[in-house]
Symmetry: C2
Subunit: 195 residues, 2 copies
């Protein structure tokens, strides 16, 4: 059990489990696999998490916390709606591209079956985020006196799609990285491809 | 075996398997489950597909065929780049929202581990689609003499993200349906939220 004390946080367990789930599939990964990969005893793992469901839920919950702490919290203080939207786009892309959090945040969108109660808690947090973005879109359009043909709701879903889809194509060695992706996606949201 | 002859096509098997994979998870679904759900004998199922891997590959392959037949093929004949892009956005959204194909096309983006050879064949077809969209974006920008700050590649990934993400939030009873989503997403791509 000596090694157990070296696992400095539940977060290390969550990160390792998230990586295994992505590599092997959720169902194909056992609690034993997670414990072995961390050089933890099975008892040591169960001390932290009682089931694989609980681990999956905590991964998704942690992903929402990361998004709330690093995206929502910092932008709430920005008075100008347009500046707030620009900051949100930048910070959200940075979270999605963060090497440290990627394995956690990707799991948020995997469609693994969770028990209904836990699933509902995650979905409620996702909805809060969508509503925040939707209201922000509306505020930006009002500030610019734009009665555009794009509804705040469609714009919010489009933005979240653009950003959350990044993990499907992103390559650390590719030409699109945060420094050029952020201004391009921002430009696209505000003015489209003909901006 | 009498029921076997009633399964009129491999497509019915693929559709049922795709639905089970989404509901229960790929690993948690056995060949027996697929056969039982189709009222097929196990032998009848193995007559069509030799393994679960083969079924998953054929689902993804079929999803790419649907996309090529219903999106790429019809738009290739459109001479004007802007009209071609508008048609591509509309047709791709229609495929994603099609109740008949949804269970097939959603599987395209699930990250279930496939044997490397099969995975590479799917990825090659995905890449062809991305390159088509990327070239089209470049053509539209050239036609409008727009030296925008949004590269064709970033624009292509953004569009695919917007559209492929739809299955994460779409509800058949919701207010956003093809008839209002298509013009809004099109407007967004061409002119952004302030269009």
């Amino acid at each position: 059990m000596a090694r157990d004390t070296l696992v400095d946080s539940r977060q290390e367990i969550l990160r390792t489990a998230a990586r295994l789930f992505q590599q092997r599939g959720y169902d194909a990964t056992s609690m034993n696999d997670v414990a072995a990969s961390l050089k933890l005893s099975k008892g040591g793992l169960y001390h932290h998490f009682q089931s694989k469901d609980e681990i999956l839920f905590e991964i998704m919950n942690h992903a929402m916390e990361i998004t709330e702490d690093r995206v929502l919290a910092p932008v709430r203080g920005i008075a100008d709606p347009e500046a707030r939207l620009r900051a949100l786009i930048r910070l959200h892309i940075e979270v999605v591209l963060s090497p440290q959090d990627r394995e956690i945040t990707v799991m948020l969108h995997e469609n693994h079956p969770l028990p209904p109660t836990l699933r509902r808690r995650i979905n409620a947090r996702k909805k809060d985020y969508i509503h925040f973005v939707e209201s922000l879109m509306a505020e930006v359009q009002r500030a610019r006196q734009c009665k555009g043909s794009v509804s705040p709701r469609a714009a919010a879903f489009a933005l979240l799609g653009m950003i959350n889809w990044i993990y499907q194509w992103y390559k650390p060695e590719g030409s699109l990285q945060a420094h050029n992706l952020v201004p391009q996606f921002t430009e696209l949201v505000f003015g489209g491809i003909l901006a």
